[in-house]
């Protein structure tokens, strides 16, 4: 939940700079969710060099958001920016596919 606030703050400051805006939907403390948060964090640190905002949302806490973002399978990470929007589901253990989803596959 701390991540969420942090993400929101960053978003306010840096959106204009072409930063990655990511939203991660998880369901409480399920094994998949925990793994997903860890994996996303490490990938972001490694490949995005801090140029990102990550918002982690627990849909158990905010179920109304689940409908707004059309969440079905969780964990789900939505890349809001840069365009195009991409969705990644799963525990983010397949780093290659996560990077593909983030549009960084060629770089790696």
């Amino acid at each position: 939940m701390a991540d969420k606030n942090e993400g929101l703050n960053k978003k306010n400051n840096d959106t204009a700079a072409g930063a990655y805006v990511l939203r991660l939907f998880i369901t409480g403390a399920s094994p998949n969710s925990i793994r997903a948060v860890e994996n996303v964090k490490s990938i972001c640190e490694k490949y995005l060099n801090g140029n990102y905002e990550l918002e982690v949302i627990d849909i158990h806490q905010q179920p109304e958001l689940a409908e707004g973002e059309d969440v079905i399978a969780v964990p789900l990470m939505i890349k809001k920016a840069p365009y195009p929007e991409r969705r990644m589901i799963g525990d983010m253990s397949d780093t290659h596919r996560v990077l593909k989803g983030l549009g960084l596959a060629n770089n790696s």
Binding site: E64, D70, I72, A73, V74, I89, G90, D91
Partner: protein, 583 residues
Amino acid sequence: MSKSQKKKEPVLYGTLPKALTGITGLDEITGGGLPLGRPTLICGEAGCGKTLMSIEFIVRGAVQYNEPGVFVAFEEKSDELAMNVASLGFDLKKLQAENKLKIDHVHIDRSEIEETGEYDLEGLFIRLGYAIDSIGAKRVVLDTLENLFSGLDNQAVLRTELRRLFTWLKEKGVTAIITGERGEGSLTRQGLEEYVSDCVILLDNRVVNQITTRRLRVIKYRGTVHGTNEYPFLIDEDGISVLPVTSLKMANKVSTDRVSTGVSGLDNMLGGKGLYRGGSVLVSGTAGTGKTSLAASFANEACNRKEKCVYFAMEESPNQIIRNIRSIGIDLQKHVDSGLLYFNASRPNLYGLEMHLVAMHKCIKQYKPSVVIIDPITNFINIGSVSEVKNMLVRMIDFLQEEQISVMFTALSLNTIVNEQTDEGVSSLVDAWILVRDIEFNGERNRGLYVMKSRGMKHSNQVREFIITDTGLQLVDVYLGPDGILTGSAREQQMLLERTGEAIRSSAVNRKDREIIRKRKVLEAKIASLHTEFESVEEELNKVYLEEELKKEILNKNREEVMRMRRGETAENKEKTKTSRKK
């Protein structure tokens, strides 16, 4: 049969509790609706009405039974859905505003999704749970869940999650409908029927002879009796109507009331009173024998009695019928205007037999007539086999009898098989069968009418000549002469001949009568003269007799005188006077 019993007392026996769908006919087939608090699978091919049936379940639940519902649409967006069902009179927007309905559109696009490891469908559960809790939903529809399979790769995850979903839905206690596309060799493409084991309904859309009929079948329904047949259903402006189960009990009420056919001659043939109320009558005959005219006068008569009548016109348009019937002096237009007569015109080829049945059913239920006319049933043969048509008519007659509605069918029979069964083979089903046929004789064609059968009443075995005049229909006795049956102008001629003969005969009789009178007068005159003769003879005889009497008297007197004179003395005094007088 046991269905109605079951419906009455489901709670007493502790049978499966059910949720009424509110869909016409479906509740009868399922004996009270879908299993309460359990998921039901509705499967079928594209375009057979799965979505419509499920949305009707939700809407009717919300409107009629005060059970809010959640509709999870995997295919259509909520706006599209609202627009699609607006034509059926369902106002989804309003229901959503009243919190009676919640539509959740789930969009899955494979191209947008990257699968990066293990996942589950907890998101769907949470969304659904949230939607259910937010409006207190009792009903849930998942339309079409199988779209998940096209959006997501991991089949193993999907299957375990689906299994979990159905258990979860049961735990939630919501009555759910899951729809699924029909697959090759199985009910659904993804084998959803494995997971939903309580109730499975199959919808079908079949084209036979270029005519499409939608059908519904309850494949399984655990823990309850249900109709097992295929039932045709209709989607129209009021939603879905499933044809109610044909009653097989044959325990219909019967009436001893009689209704006039509108042709007094025909009533006379039928024991003088006409047909039984709630009975069925078939009028068959070759082309142009006046079947429609008979049917129209039956309808007219019913309207004159201030009863409602529905006229199913299968061949002519209502205006055509009204115009044509006006020519025989029957004004149907005024009955149409007063609302007593309702025309329902449709071509037989419009839809399948079963659909006709459903449509007629609906119309009759809505209009509640006491007389129904189907003119003609012949054309149904174009859209089904003899046995199918017969089957349909049996059900029609059955339904009408149950509702105590009199029905008149007309049927065209071909020239070659007059007097035989009609094409539709319904002659054994109906209560009365009137046959109108041509009698061709002497270079002209006339109409003859028989009552082939009329159950439960005395009826004439005579052929009547059936005449269509400017003032209606009339039945005349045919002339049975030495040369056989005479009709039309031959009959008229014969009747003229007979009248002439009669006139001649009667004049002859008159002459004889006069002769007799004359004879009598002559005789009477003779008798009078004899009488007078006799009187004069009698007088003559009497005269002689009187004279003799007189003579006798005088003689006596004289003798006495003489005797006195002989005595002398006593006669002195007298003598004195006598002699003095002599002197």
